[in-house]
């Protein structure tokens, strides 16, 4: 947990300053996420939870020969629907690319930024 993301060998296809605005006065503070950092995960979805207060993606991410399990928090389903998401947008087994703001703690979690779905379409900000 004390290791940095880079030491963990997370596939950093993208490590950029994100211009995305921090959601104001949301359900909870976003301080546990590093909103200035974006990492990209080559992920195999294990669970997609389409429910308030926050939708959630859980996914296995291949790192070298090993696999890491990530939990990615999203905004509310109603907000996600406004940008085109549906309950059926993801399902277990989908291999997708996910952009996230990682947890500051180095734990394998993050705040959702964008996704490239199996059919190549994208949702959110995929920089």
């Amino acid at each position: 947990m004390e290791q940095t993301m880079t030491k963990l060998g997370v596939p950093l296809l993208c490590l950029a300053l994100a211009a995305a605005a921090i959601p104001a006065a949301a359900h909870h503070s976003y301080a546990m996420f590093d909103m200035n950092k974006t990492v990209v995960l080559e992920a195999s979805v294990t669970r997609f939870k389409w429910q308030n207060p926050h939708a959630f993606i859980e996914a296995d991410v291949a790192v070298g020969g090993a696999s890491e399990h990530w939990a990615i928090e999203m905004t509310s389903p109603n907000n996600l629907a406004q940008e085109g998401w549906k309950r059926t947008s993801l399902k277990p087994g989908d291999r997708v690319r996910i952009w996230v703001h990682p947890l500051r703690s180095g734990a394998r979690g993050g705040s959702y930024v964008g996704v490239r779905l199996t059919d190549g379409s994208t949702l959110g900000d995929v920089g």
Partner: protein
Amino acid sequence: MRLPYAACAAALALASPAVAQLGAATQSAPPDGVAEGQGAANPRGHYAALDALPDWGGIWFVMAGPPGSAAPPEPKLKGEYLQRREAWAAEVRANEGVARRARSNCSPPGMPRIMRLAQYPYEFIFSPGRVTINQEAWMQTRTIWTDGRAHEEDPDPSFMGDSIGRWDGDTLVVDTIGISGELEIDTGWPHSDRFHLVERIHLDPADPDVLVNEMRMDDPEALAEPFEVTARYRRDRYGKLYEFQCSQNDRNPVDEHGDTRFE
């Protein structure tokens, strides 16, 4: 047979007060300021008059300020409330910006914070003598009585408080007291149980798909001066509120110390 039977039933009823109470509807008196037969509890004959009210149909999402806009104003606290604020801020700084939260995420924020949540929309329902605000967040319901009643004399402290309102032209003016002193103005900004809020809610004259809520808060114990902040909401005409059952997806459970992992 009849008389002894009736006497027996009366005796049984007297001997079983709990059963007797279960069978009887509560008979509350009209609230102060509302005559018998009038007010929100007697809506018949008053629905047509609602057509004179402004068009607030659809659902409404809090809008973020335009890019580069100034940070929202902050309350000016005093006394022990200022000390609590400073202690809270110091703890957050020491914890990389992450605030401790002493109650479950499934506990709603209550007023006035719930009127400024970015992620969950609202709808405004007009009916004779009242405006009902349904909030997607925690599926909360807020009632604003517009039938001329006065505030309750000593309302129980609650998450929504006691709200009475009136229409000033196309502006709904709402006065709220009775908000629990355990709640906050905003995260990390405490107030007392003497907190008082006035809201002026109206469509933006420049854009009828924007609703404006000018909020003014005062608190003789916690606030050094009234705190004014404006919330803006954008309309999604055909949107709907989603179900919000927090326990289905509570990612921030309370630990053995009664704390959650983050605010």
